[in-house]
């Protein structure tokens, strides 16, 4: 009521707000201008940037076994054997002498790659299935709805464990494909629900009156309005995919020959790094993953504010 009162007629006057307040209110009015989105994207881009630039500035071959002395601590620390960190391995080395910095430079983009690829494929499946269910309706809708209800219950980790136990080693892309088979359900459900409600929207009826084809209605009228939801669902799926991938790696599955953050943690735990206080070995990949998840969460919170104006509080 009051909101309407403000927009319609009464003229505002008199600047009576502090600068901080004005900034907050402007953020309220333009949701994309949002510190959560900004910081979240910043963190992720930072990780990608380090991954790309790191390959140039740092020797990626250091990820191989025996690249350096075993279990060296990061620069400025000392391990239990009294060895001090060296400049050649500023973040220390793991139990096989692999350089931690190189591991992070190679491993972090790998995790993001799996997450983004799996989520992209899941998303595309979700768009196709969600639009089909919402538009065609009837039997198609029933099948897609029940199938996504069923598949959303099954935790991907367990099926993937069975798969990898039977098939053995996989590469990153294969792992992303496998995970993608389990992350189409939530975008499907989301898009289906939105399409069903948008079908009755005035502007979709107007488009039909304008002789628009189904394709035009789906992609030109509906899809643009789904963007914040799709984006949010995409980010949530990236998170799920990375969690699943890391889970597999920590169980000793996943790619065996490519350095990944999860596999590094797996080896650290298995070698008793926790008890021997080799904190950098498991701690650095853990921290990097944590940072990645925080970045993803921030983006998601920011997107929530875009698609649900009520979350934008003054």
């Amino acid at each position: 009521m009051a909101d309407q009162a403000l927009q319609d007629t009464t003229k505002p006057d008199g600047p009576a707000l502090t600068r901080a307040e004005i900034r907050r209110r402007r953020r309220y009015e333009n949701p994309w201008f949002n510190p959560k989105l900004f910081w979240g994207a910043g963190i992720l881009l930072g990780i990608v940037f380090v991954g790309l630039v790191g390959r140039v500035l740092w020797d990626p071959d250091l990820v191989f076994t025996g690249a350096g002395v075993l279990r060296l601590p990061p620069l400025g620390f000392e391990n239990l054997r009294g060895q001090a960190g060296v400049l050649n391995h500023p973040l220390g080395t793991d139990g096989a002498g692999r350089d931690m910095l190189a591991l992070l430079i190679i491993g972090a983009p790998n995790s993001l790659y799996v997450g983004v690829l799996a989520s992209l494929i899941g998303m595309s499946l979700g768009i196709v299935l969600g639009f089909s269910a919402g538009f065609i309706g009837g039997r198609t809708d029933d099948v897609i709805r029940v199938l996504s209800d069923v598949m959303i219950t099954i935790p991907p980790l367990l099926i993937l464990v069975v798969f990898q136990a039977a098939f053995g080693d996989v590469n990153l892309t294969m792992m992303a494909l496998l995970i993608a088979a389990f992350v189409w359900q939530s975008p499907t459900r989301l898009i289906r629900a939105q399409v069903l409600s948008m079908r009755e929207a005035g502007y979709v009826q107007m488009a039909r009156l304008s002789g628009a084809s189904t394709g035009h209605i789906m992609f030109r009228e509906m899809l643009p309005n789904l963007v914040p939801y799709l984006f949010g669902s995409f980010i949530a799926n990236v998170t799920t995919a990375i969690v699943t991938a890391v889970g597999l790696e920590v169980l000793g599955l996943g790619p065996q020959r490519i350095p990944t953050l999860g596999r590094t943690i797996y080896e650290a735990i298995n070698s008793g790094a926790l008890i021997q206080n080799l904190w950098w070995w498991w701690g650095l990949p853990t921290a990097l993953l944590a940072l990645m998840f925080i970045g993803l969460l921030l983006i998601n919170l920011g997107l929530d504010e875009v698609s649900n104006p009520r979350l934008r509080r003054l």
Partner: protein
């Protein structure tokens, strides 16, 4: 005795661009037992003022200045009360009946619990038997049976829910009741019942009443004094008779004149002639034809078998009037080919519209256009508003060049009274409802269809703009030669604009004929009830008591499907078989 005194009240809403003065220097007294109407359009500050008396302003609104006194609390200024003291004032001294009847009750609590919790919050421990006795009594006072108390809100109709809200509002016999557009979501028949119920219980407990609304007719039928608000200011206040018969402020005059009245002065410059003499030779193929059309949804019949023929000689406006659920929107959707009839055929220029080839379908789409009820939903929020005008123009191959499209858009805008430079490149949310609805009319104008389906085109637009938009639509017939099917619940406008009226009730045509006969002198029980229920700005008219309204509603149930035909117009044939 005065129950509420508002002195020099000002309310501010700080926003990004500065401070909005939602209400400024508002002074008013509410005497005991008296009904005061607050009337004004959205944004006039009427609701904000009332909420201030409840101390329930939505953030970031705040009372900048002024005092509010509740007499039963002595000289205490309400604004100075602590939160807990204010809590105790609510419901016990001032109660509030909200606008959205549909959503005002807690969906997971039984109705009676929602009456009891109010009693307990103010009186502490009350025995179960006492609670039951009181909820029963208060439900009865609003005409609801005892067992309704044990239902959940989703099991009630809109009118019942709003009466439950009234029951809650009066259960502690407050000094003042604030009713915020309590009937805006209800149809006119239910509106009369709910409104009269509210008046009755308010009289019984002798409370003051503030009725917030935008409908001059409803005010005339319901209140003693009228406060007219515009842009946060009280522009006129006085006894309702004085305000209606001798309005001082031009805005009040505008509000009064914008209410169409059956039989009154037409708001059109060139109203339809009484009987259209069709001079063109009758064509063999009608423009639109319903051939034994019926529509069912599962076991529900939305529309009973109906046939009509509308020829394409002299353009006509055919009105289809009825309440929600009468089947009138189903008819609209059938004509547009949005849904297929369960029985019979819908023919446009002799072709079944549900069996068109792709090319024929395009032609059909171009020839049959629509204006829908909700101007807010009709624009895709992703695009600028000109998308809605330019897209169909190009799609139907009418555009010769981008410049041509632009020219036509601008011409259409000017025809409906919009400045193209100010509206076309805006996003939908930057325009008012009235502007958007006029753009939709402009869109129809650009496409120059043969038939226009106007489904409640003005029910969501501010009252002062309704007449203007209806004039725009009427001009489509008058100047562009477009035949129009006008679907509405508003009999007064149907009376003025149409050549022929069909009254629909529960999927049956109950009365049909020229508007002067059907609406001016109704014969069917249902049509009569509809017309009796319309609130008019006529103080001497008896709107009936709550019991009358109730009795009328009960009488309706066995309405027979025997339609009464009240004469015909050339070029339109109707049959119910």
């Amino acid at each position: 005795m005065t129950v509420l005194e508002i002195k020099n009240l000002s309310i501010d809403f700080p926003i990004a661009k500065g401070v909005v003065h939602a209400v400024s220097d508002f002074t008013l007294n509410v005497p005991q037992g008296r009904r005061i109407g607050f009337i004004g359009e959205s944004g006039s500050g009427k609701t904000t003022t009332a909420l201030a008396a409840m101390r329930m302003l939505a953030a970031p609104g705040r009372i900048a200045e002024g005092e509010i006194h509740l007499m039963s609390l002595g000289q205490t200024n309400i604004i100075k009360l602590t939160d807990d003291e204010m809590r105790r004032v609510r419901l016990r001294k001032i109660s509030y009946i909200p606008q959205g009847a549909m959503n005002s009750l807690n969906p997971v609590m039984r109705v009676e619990n929602q009456i009891w919790d109010g009693i307990i919050a103010h009186e502490g421990a009350v025995s179960m038997a006492e609670l039951r006795r009181r909820s029963k009594a208060v439900l009865e006072s609003v005409g609801l049976a005892d067992h309704v108390g044990r239902l959940y809100p989703h099991e009630l109709s809109g009118g019942m829910k709003q009466r439950v809200c009234i029951a809650i509002g009066v259960c502690l016999q407050p000094d003042l009741i604030i009713a915020d557009e309590p009937t805006s979501a209800l149809d006119v028949i239910t509106q009369r019942h709910v409104m009269q119920t509210l008046r009755k219980v308010q009289e019984t407990i002798g409370a003051g009443l503030i009725l917030i609304g935008h409908d001059m007719g409803l005010m005339a039928q319901s209140v003693d004094d009228l406060a007219v608000m515009k842009l946060g200011e009280l522009v006129e206040f006085g006894p309702v008779r004085q305000v209606l018969e001798a309005p001082k402020h031009p805005y009040t005059r505008q509000l009064i004149s914008s209410v169409p009245v059956v039989g009154g002065q037409s708001f059109l410059d060139n109203p339809p002639a009484a009987a259209v003499a069709d001079t063109t030779p009758a064509r063999t193929v009608p423009l639109l034809e319903f051939e034994g059309v019926a529509k069912t949804y599962g076991s529900n019949t939305a529309l009973h078998t109906l046939s009509f023929k509308l020829d394409d000689g002299v353009p006509k406006i055919i009105s289809i009037v009825g309440q929600s659920g009468s089947g009138k929107s189903t008819m609209g959707s059938l004509m547009l080919g949005f849904s297929a009839p369960s029985n019979g055929r819908v023919l446009f220029q002799g072709r079944d519209i549900n069996r068109l080839s792709a090319a024929e379908r395009m032609a059909f789409r171009k020839d049959v256009q629509a204006v829908f009820q909700d101007p807010y939903a009709c624009f895709n929020p992703f695009y600028r508003v000109d998308h809605a005008l330019a897209y169909p123009f190009k799609r139907f191959g009418l555009a010769r060049s981008p410049a041509h499209t632009r020219e036509e858009m601008e011409k259409a805008c000017r025809t409906v009274g919009l400045n193209p430079a100010l509206v076309l490149r805006r996003y939908p949310h930057q325009l008012s409802g009235g502007q958007r609805q006029r753009l939709i009319v402009a869109r129809a104008l650009m496409l120059s269809p043969k038939l226009l389906i106007a489904d409640e085109p003005v029910s969501m637009v501010d009252a002062s703009l309704r007449a203007t938009i209806l004039k725009n639509i009427y001009d489509l017939k008058d100047k562009q030669g477009i035949s129009i099917l006008y679907i509405t619940h508003d009999l007064a406008t149907a009376y003025h604009v149409s050549d022929y009226v069909m009254v629909l009730y529960r999927g049956h045509v109950v009365e049909a004929g020229p508007p002067k006969a059907v609406i001016g002198d109704p014969q069917h029980d249902y049509t009569r009830l509809l017309i009796d229920s319309i609130p008019w700005p006529d103080l001497d008219r008896n709107w009936g008591s709550a019991d009358d309204a109730r009795a009328d509603l009960d009488r309706l149930d066995p309405v027979a499907a025997n339609p009464i035909f009240r004469g015909a117009v050339a070029g339109f044939e109707l049959a119910t078989a």
